[in-house]
Protein backbone atom coordinates (compact mmCIF):
# COMPACT_ATOMS: atom_id res chain seq x y z
CA UNK A 1 0.00 0.00 0.00
CA UNK A 2 1.30 3.44 -0.72
CA UNK A 3 0.08 6.98 -0.15
CA UNK A 4 -0.22 9.99 -2.43
CA UNK A 5 1.43 13.30 -1.65
CA UNK A 6 -2.03 14.86 -1.66
CA UNK A 7 -3.31 12.41 0.95
CA UNK A 8 -0.40 13.23 3.25
CA UNK A 9 -0.92 16.95 2.78
CA UNK A 10 -4.63 16.82 3.53
CA UNK A 11 -4.16 14.68 6.64
CA UNK A 12 -1.63 17.18 7.99
CA UNK A 13 -3.87 20.16 7.12
CA UNK A 14 -6.87 18.50 8.77
CA UNK A 15 -4.99 18.17 12.04
CA UNK A 16 -3.03 21.44 11.74
CA UNK A 17 -5.30 23.84 9.79
CA UNK A 18 -2.87 26.79 9.73
CA UNK A 19 0.03 24.69 8.43
CA UNK A 20 1.94 25.57 5.28
CA UNK A 21 2.74 22.11 3.90
CA UNK A 22 4.96 20.96 1.01
CA UNK A 23 5.32 17.25 0.26
CA UNK A 24 7.92 15.86 -2.10
CA UNK A 25 7.93 12.30 -3.45
CA UNK A 26 11.54 11.15 -3.05
CA UNK A 27 11.40 7.84 -4.86
CA UNK A 28 8.24 7.88 -6.97
CA UNK A 29 7.01 4.75 -5.17
CA UNK A 30 4.47 6.42 -2.90
CA UNK A 31 6.45 5.23 0.07
CA UNK A 32 9.33 7.68 0.54
CA UNK A 33 8.46 11.32 1.01
CA UNK A 34 9.97 14.50 2.41
CA UNK A 35 7.63 17.06 3.96
CA UNK A 36 8.16 20.59 5.18
CA UNK A 37 5.55 21.89 7.61
CA UNK A 38 5.42 25.43 9.01
CA UNK A 39 2.83 26.20 11.67
CA UNK A 40 2.32 28.60 14.55
CA UNK A 41 1.32 25.57 16.66
CA UNK A 42 4.98 24.46 16.64
CA UNK A 43 6.19 27.58 18.41
CA UNK A 44 8.02 26.65 21.62
CA UNK A 45 7.76 22.91 20.96
CA UNK A 46 10.85 20.70 20.69
CA UNK A 47 11.64 19.23 17.29
CA UNK A 48 10.60 15.85 18.72
CA UNK A 49 7.16 17.13 19.78
CA UNK A 50 6.68 18.85 16.42
CA UNK A 51 7.37 15.60 14.56
CA UNK A 52 5.09 13.67 16.95
CA UNK A 53 2.29 16.09 16.03
CA UNK A 54 2.79 15.23 12.37
CA UNK A 55 2.79 11.49 13.08
CA UNK A 56 -0.42 11.88 15.08
CA UNK A 57 -1.96 13.78 12.13
CA UNK A 58 -1.12 10.80 9.89
CA UNK A 59 -3.28 8.63 12.14
CA UNK A 60 -1.03 5.61 12.45
CA UNK A 61 0.03 5.39 8.79
CA UNK A 62 3.62 6.31 9.57
CA UNK A 63 5.76 3.21 9.63
CA UNK A 64 2.98 1.18 8.01
CA UNK A 65 1.58 2.45 4.69
CA UNK A 66 4.19 5.17 4.75
CA UNK A 67 7.70 3.80 5.07
CA UNK A 68 9.72 6.99 5.10
CA UNK A 69 8.84 10.62 5.70
CA UNK A 70 11.75 13.00 6.10
CA UNK A 71 10.37 15.87 8.15
CA UNK A 72 11.38 19.53 8.40
CA UNK A 73 9.13 21.36 10.85
CA UNK A 74 9.25 24.92 12.19
CA UNK A 75 7.18 27.83 13.42
CA UNK A 76 6.86 30.80 11.04
CA UNK A 77 9.70 33.39 11.38
Amino acid sequence: MAMSAGAIESLIRTAIPDARVTVEDLAGDGDHYAATVVSEQFRGLSRLKQHQMIYAALQGRMGGELHALALQTSAPD
Binding site: R47, L48, H51, Q52, Y55, M62, G63, A68, L71
Partner: protein, 113 residues
Protein backbone atom coordinates in the same frame (compact mmCIF):
# COMPACT_ATOMS: atom_id res chain seq x y z
CA UNK B 1 6.58 -11.53 26.04
CA UNK B 2 3.74 -9.33 27.40
CA UNK B 3 3.70 -5.61 26.66
CA UNK B 4 4.74 -4.84 30.24
CA UNK B 5 7.72 -7.15 30.04
CA UNK B 6 8.86 -5.47 26.82
CA UNK B 7 8.50 -2.04 28.44
CA UNK B 8 10.46 -3.28 31.46
CA UNK B 9 13.21 -4.61 29.24
CA UNK B 10 13.41 -1.33 27.33
CA UNK B 11 13.54 0.63 30.58
CA UNK B 12 16.38 -1.61 31.75
CA UNK B 13 18.24 -1.26 28.44
CA UNK B 14 18.05 2.52 28.35
CA UNK B 15 18.93 2.86 32.03
CA UNK B 16 21.97 0.60 31.90
CA UNK B 17 23.28 1.94 28.60
CA UNK B 18 23.91 5.70 28.45
CA UNK B 19 23.62 5.60 24.64
CA UNK B 20 21.12 3.00 23.43
CA UNK B 21 20.12 2.59 19.77
CA UNK B 22 17.16 0.48 18.66
CA UNK B 23 17.80 -0.25 15.00
CA UNK B 24 17.18 -2.59 12.09
CA UNK B 25 20.17 -4.88 11.87
CA UNK B 26 23.39 -4.43 13.84
CA UNK B 27 26.09 -1.75 13.99
CA UNK B 28 28.27 -4.01 11.85
CA UNK B 29 25.45 -4.94 9.45
CA UNK B 30 22.72 -2.30 9.45
CA UNK B 31 19.73 -3.43 7.38
CA UNK B 32 18.13 -0.05 6.75
CA UNK B 33 19.55 3.20 5.43
CA UNK B 34 18.15 5.25 8.28
CA UNK B 35 19.59 2.94 10.92
CA UNK B 36 22.93 2.89 9.12
CA UNK B 37 23.00 6.70 9.12
CA UNK B 38 22.62 6.94 12.91
CA UNK B 39 25.30 4.28 13.41
CA UNK B 40 27.57 6.29 11.10
CA UNK B 41 27.02 9.51 13.08
CA UNK B 42 27.64 7.85 16.45
CA UNK B 43 30.75 6.08 15.15
CA UNK B 44 32.05 9.28 13.56
CA UNK B 45 31.72 11.00 16.95
CA UNK B 46 33.45 8.05 18.67
CA UNK B 47 30.52 7.64 21.04
CA UNK B 48 30.31 4.23 22.76
CA UNK B 49 26.80 2.90 22.16
CA UNK B 50 24.77 -0.30 22.50
CA UNK B 51 22.35 -1.51 19.85
CA UNK B 52 19.33 -3.80 19.80
CA UNK B 53 18.16 -5.35 16.52
CA UNK B 54 14.39 -5.00 16.31
CA UNK B 55 14.30 -7.26 13.27
CA UNK B 56 15.13 -10.18 15.54
CA UNK B 57 12.28 -9.46 17.96
CA UNK B 58 8.88 -8.29 16.66
CA UNK B 59 7.60 -7.63 20.18
CA UNK B 60 10.57 -5.32 20.80
CA UNK B 61 9.96 -3.66 17.43
CA UNK B 62 6.36 -2.80 18.34
CA UNK B 63 7.12 -2.27 22.02
CA UNK B 64 9.74 0.43 21.41
CA UNK B 65 7.30 2.37 19.22
CA UNK B 66 4.69 2.29 21.99
CA UNK B 67 7.30 3.14 24.61
CA UNK B 68 8.39 6.38 22.93
CA UNK B 69 5.18 7.17 21.05
CA UNK B 70 7.31 7.25 17.91
CA UNK B 71 6.20 5.13 14.93
CA UNK B 72 9.53 4.24 13.37
CA UNK B 73 12.95 2.74 14.00
CA UNK B 74 15.81 3.68 14.48
CA UNK B 75 15.33 5.22 17.90
CA UNK B 76 18.14 6.75 19.92
CA UNK B 77 18.04 7.09 23.72
CA UNK B 78 20.60 9.06 25.72
CA UNK B 79 20.67 8.61 29.49
CA UNK B 80 17.21 7.05 29.40
CA UNK B 81 15.67 9.87 27.35
CA UNK B 82 14.29 9.35 23.85
CA UNK B 83 16.14 11.78 21.57
CA UNK B 84 14.75 11.00 18.13
CA UNK B 85 14.92 9.06 14.92
CA UNK B 86 17.21 9.46 11.91
CA UNK B 87 15.94 12.93 10.87
CA UNK B 88 16.30 14.51 14.28
CA UNK B 89 19.67 12.91 15.02
CA UNK B 90 21.01 14.03 11.65
CA UNK B 91 19.76 17.61 12.19
CA UNK B 92 21.16 17.70 15.73
CA UNK B 93 24.49 16.39 14.45
CA UNK B 94 24.66 19.13 11.80
CA UNK B 95 23.72 21.93 14.23
CA UNK B 96 26.10 20.69 16.97
CA UNK B 97 23.19 20.01 19.36
CA UNK B 98 24.13 16.32 19.50
CA UNK B 99 27.66 17.09 20.68
CA UNK B 100 26.19 19.44 23.30
CA UNK B 101 23.73 16.77 24.43
CA UNK B 102 26.54 14.25 24.89
CA UNK B 103 28.73 16.76 26.75
CA UNK B 104 25.87 17.75 29.06
CA UNK B 105 25.34 14.07 29.87
CA UNK B 106 29.03 13.35 30.46
CA UNK B 107 29.28 11.10 27.45
CA UNK B 108 32.74 11.03 25.87
CA UNK B 109 32.79 11.93 22.20
CA UNK B 110 35.04 13.57 19.66
CA UNK B 111 33.63 16.90 18.51
CA UNK B 112 31.89 16.54 15.14
CA UNK B 113 34.25 17.66 12.37
Amino acid sequence: MSQDLVAERITKDITENPVMLYMKGTAMFPQCGFSARVVQILSHMNVPFKTANVLEDMELREGVKRFSNWPTVPQLYVKGEFVGGCDIITEMYQTGELATLFSENGITHSVAA
